[in-house]
């Protein structure tokens, strides 16, 4: 057991957890932030995507104890009073159906827009599709997810 302290969605939290606790378990079971979802065991579906120190990672494939002192943002912490433009865009463009992959899709969308803007690259629809390699959706056929991210990119 290790006492892990990190900043999650702007709040400092500390919990005594077994060393093998994954970040996803830490968020879901210890902090009860259940918006981070588990859709696979092989780090491929991306339903658990969160931001750690500003970078997207799969919470199912990181040990909580290895993230001592980290700043973590989950889907619950994305909105800052009002909805994040990416959240708005998913609503406006019907970018979700069952909603299960949605938190990961939104976190991936925010990450890619931020990265492309920082690097001064154009985030084309083709680039969005490539960037979504690590996020699987079974409902939407991606059409409206790509539209949502394009829409948000124009507004972020």
């Amino acid at each position: 057991m290790t006492n892990v302290k990190m900043k999650v969605n702007g709040k400092t939290v500390a919990r005594e957890v077994p060393d093998e606790t994954l970040l996803s378990e830490f968020l879901r079971e210890h902090l009860r932030l259940t918006g981070t979802h588990i859709g696979c065991d092989t780090s491929q579906c991306g339903a658990c995507a969160v931001h750690v120190n500003g970078k997207m990672v799969k919470a199912c494939t990181a040990l909580a104890v290895s993230l001592e002192g980290a700043e973590v943002t989950t889907i619950e912490g994305l909105a800052n009073g009002e909805l994040h433009p990416m959240q708005v865009a998913f609503h406006d463009n019907h970018g979700l159906q069952c909603g299960f992959c949605t938190p990961g899709m939104i976190m991936a969308g925010v990450d890619m827009v931020n990265r492309y803007k920082a690097e001064g690259r154009e985030l084309t629809s083709e680039a969005i599709r490539h960037e979504l390699e690590g996020n699987i959706c079974r409902c939407t056929g991606y059409h409206n997810i790509v539209k949502s991210i394009e829409d948000a990119a124009a507004k972020m």
Partner: protein, 264 residues
């Protein structure tokens, strides 16, 4: 997962000590393979020794004409590194196409090389570039380092600290992804550099990454995609699985080699 004890040493010596102390201790570098394996109960280390807190393990720099990349440098960092992009753009491009963006933010070059997955991208680059794998105890040439599927020259308790790559004149990688995993079904890295013209193939070999003499010879005499047309790529020793038969892989080796040459 099975219970495990986590360690995050600040020095190599402490890491080595922690590895030696654990009953079945393993190095944790990025965890993108190891943690997934542990989740499925396919690995059960007693201890995990996280090397990401050790000084000098992260980042890339140039030492003369040699590119030095810390073992705990993530794929995203290698892909984005100005130094790597300048001295070996083919390697940066390879790193930028491993896994997916989230995996690239955690997975590391050292972790990939220590695991030596037969379908991983990095081993082909190291072999084709004639890289040197630097550990806490010695320097190992890539030719000696890769010893078959998931097998390397690393001894018990030995930790990769960096890799050294002599900047090539030309180098590029072409990957045909296994459709499900997006690992390499066939990946070919071609390089023309201080270690000569070398062609290394990943994803295809029964014994993991390998060099292809016929392709190398053809490119050594004429560095062009067309020069590869007449090369015979045998299916002997190649993997046959549900995603690709040996003859298909043999065919793809040539196709990918030509595409890599065209991109270099």
């Amino acid at each position: 997962m099975y219970p495990v004890k986590y360690h995050k040493p600040n020095t190599i010596d402490d890491a080595v000590a922690a590895l030696a102390a654990g009953e079945e201790a393993m190095v944790l570098a990025g965890g993108q393979t190891l943690l997934a394996t542990m989740k499925q109960h396919l690995a059960s280390p007693s201890d995990l020794v996280d090397i990401r807190g050790i000084d000098g393990m992260v980042g890339a720099c140039i030492d003369g004409d040699t590119l030095v990349i810390g073992a705990a440098t993530t794929h995203a960092e290698v892909a984005g590194s100005a130094v790597v992009r300048k001295h070996c753009p083919g390697l940066a491009a390879l790193a930028g196409n491993i896994g997916d963006p989230a995996v690239r933010n955690m997975g590391t070059i050292g972790g990939s090389l220590a695991n030596n997955d037969p379908a991983a991208c990095y081993p082909s680059a190291m072999l084709a570039l004639g890289a040197t794998i630097v550990t806490n105890t010695r320097q190992i040439s890539a030719d000696d380092y890769f010893q078959g599927m998931f097998a390397t020259a690393l001894e018990e308790g030995e930790i990769i600290t960096s890799v050294r790559v002599d900047a090539p004149a030309k180098a590029a990688y072409a990957k045909f992804a296994q459709p499900a995993s997006l690992f390499a079904l066939v990946g070919v890295f071609v390089a023309d550099g201080p270690h000569g013209v070398r062609v290394a193939v990943t994803g295809a070999g029964d014994d993991g990454v390998f060099r292809h003499a016929g392709l190398e010879a053809a490119l050594a005499s004429d560095w062009s995609a067309g020069a590869l047309d007449s090369v015979d790529v045998s299916e002997d020793g190649l993997i046959s699985d549900i995603h690709g038969s040996a003859d298909y892989r043999a065919h793809l080796i040539k196709v990918m080699a030509k595409r890599a040459v065209a991109a270099a």
